[in-house]
Amino acid sequence: MAQLTYREAIARGIAQEMRRDPSVVMLGEDVGAAGGVFKGTVGLLEEFGDVRVRDTPISEQAILGAAMGAAMTGLRPIAEIMFADFFAVCWDIVANEIAKSRYMTNGQLSFPLVIRSGNGGGLRFGAQHSQAVENWAMMIPGLKVVVPANALDVVGLMAASVRDNDPVIFLEAKGLYATKMEVPDGEIVDTLGSAKVVRKGTNATIVALGMMVPRALQAAEELAANGIDCTVVDVRSLVPLDTATILSEVSATGRLFTVEENPRLCGWGGELASIVAEELFYDLDGPIVRITTPHIPLPAADVLEDLAIPSVERIVTTVHKSMNS
């Protein structure tokens, strides 16, 4: 049992799988000698050598094309796209090739690969290095999408993603890299498609993802002090989506709030809202409310970025207002 940061958990999860399975290889910009620009892959080059851990040129299409071609011929690559914003330069390989080729070939090909990427804001990097793109990935049929919210989940979901036989977009919340927790020793393998109830309440259900999870939890504590007792669900995996857990928690409280880092339009919370508005229509006691980054590019200045991304305060205020109206 050791204190592990979210960033260290990445290397831990990858190392666990690379030790187990020689078909697991890794590639990306600065992932080797430098240990990753976010220090998520420190030590892997040293342990596994430069045949399995490969630095690449700044060629995201080549990186993901290589991952795809390798996956369809027997390897299990883990590719890094440094910042999730950079998915835009290689989206064809992700959305048109990797996601669709299994279906198009009537199942002749499989794509057991993981694409890791630093996702979201909070570091004052401005509009092109801060996007939360979980909804970009969720909207493409054929991709699984995972966003862990703590170090333990990073390890276990990384293992599950590597072992999964489908392509997994593994989004690391940049704002959580420095967070720490106790993580047990030994092998850890989690399950894709399972949400976690991280707080049980009675009045409302708050569903959050990634960096929004600790904020939702803290908001729930503050709301509890104000007499509003909230369930908090950490979605963890957008595809597959654990609707069973989410629906049962929402129906138990009769209210749904989503806390989304992605900008408003076509965010994952809209999807959830539509599922709940169809399937739990008669169980709802009040409006479904989404708390999201507004539909704007992210500003760089700290005060502005803090205003943009859902804060504990905004969650508290929004839930409070809605529950009391």
Partner: protein, 336 residues
């Protein structure tokens, strides 16, 4: 770097040549029939023929081992068949039938037969060049001696993925052969009008430290020779090659396009260089009997007839296919 102008070798064994002859005849007859089927509305989607370009598919496939991999484009019928995929499932795929190569789910532009090393036909320009690198990387990593061969058009040399893939293949010394089929045209625009160099692939080779290689794409022997060199270089660990084969598509870009944007003289000139009659004549000159070639022609004709009927008789895909094989578990569920 000097341009290597590949020449047909003085001698090439007859069996190989007869096989390449048969392949070319098969591709020609298959696609001629596919065009008819399109006009008769049996083929519902789009369709891109390689008529006029058969020598490339035939020559390169001949140089490959069964375990090697082909990566093709939407213009992929020829490369698929040349690797030994039977005609029936290909016809059936064009017609959207359940006995199609992908049960109708892929369509003409996405022919894939993993069993034959045909690792997919890709319909977005450029994408499969990096993907071919990945397969080659896997072969290198696993220590097999497989080679990936990746076909693409002249117009494809101007998209970013081309550049990324070439550089990547060279720095990792990957066993991949990039094969540009330069048929002078993109869809309806002449490639030379939008390309900064004369030879869109070969003139870029030096940008990746590669040799500039041009081959007569209408000469199966020449193609075969160059392909053998490149494939064996890759297999031996010598890294990638980039080859530009000069050729011409006799018809339009796709579907029923009559290709009227091309000058009559240009078409006439290239019809003179039709790889099929040229190769037939060469074989006759090499002493092969007319009857032997005629027998091949006829056997292909019968194969096409039979395959057409088998494909037409194929069932319509059932509803169960719709939600099948999005995921490796065989299903399409995104929720529990």
């Amino acid at each position: 770097m000097a341009t290597k102008e590949a020449k047909a070798p003085a001698t090439l064994d007859l069996e190989t040549r007869l096989h390449m002859y048969r392949t070319q005849v098969a591709l020609r007859q298959f696609e001629t029939r596919a065009y008819d089927l399109f006009l008769e509305n049996y083929v519902k989607g789009t369709s891109h023929l390689s008529i006029g370009q058969e020598a490339i598919a035939a020559g390169v496939a001949e140089a490959m081992r069964p375990t090697d991999w082909t990566f093709a484009t939407y213009r992929g019928h020829a490369h698929t068949l040349a690797r030994g995929v039977p005609m029936t499932p290909v016809f059936a795929e064009l017609m959207g039938r359940a006995n199609g190569l992908m049960a109708g789910k892929g369509g003409s532009m996405h022919l894939t037969s993993v069993e034959h090393g045909v690792m997919g036909s890709y319909a977005i320009i450029g994408a499969h060049l990096p993907i071919a690198c990945g397969a080659a990387w896997s072969a290198q990593y696993r220590g097999t001696d497989q080679v990936a061969v990746c076909f693409f058009g002249d117009g494809t040399t101007n998209i970013g993925a081309f550049h990324e893939a070439l550089n990547f293949a060279v720095i990792w010394s990957l066993p991949v052969v990039f094969w540009c089929e330069n048929n002078l045209w993109m869809e309806y625009t002449r490639t030379s009008e939008v390309t900064a160099v004369v030879n869109p692939a070969a003139d870029r080779a030096s940008a990746y430290g590669l040799e500039s290689i041009i081959v007569d794409g209408n000469d199966a022997d020449a193609v075969y020779q160059v392909a053998c060199d490149a494939v064996e270089l890759a297999r031996a660990g010598g890294g990638p090659s980039l080859i530009e084969a000069k050729t011409y598509r006799h018809g339009g870009h796709s579907r029923a396009d009559p290709g009227k944007y091309r000058p009559d003289e240009e078409i006439a000139e290239w019809m003179q260089r039709d790889p099929l009659p040229l190769y037939r004549t060469r074989l006759l000159e090499a002493g092969v009997a007319e009857e032997e070639l005629a027998a091949i022609d006829e056997s292909v004709r019968l194969e096409v007839e039979l395959a057409t009927e088998e494909a037409k008789a194929g069932p319509i895909p059932g509803e169960d296919l719709l939600l099948k094989d999005v995921w490796a578990d065989g299903g399409a569920a995104w929720r529990n």
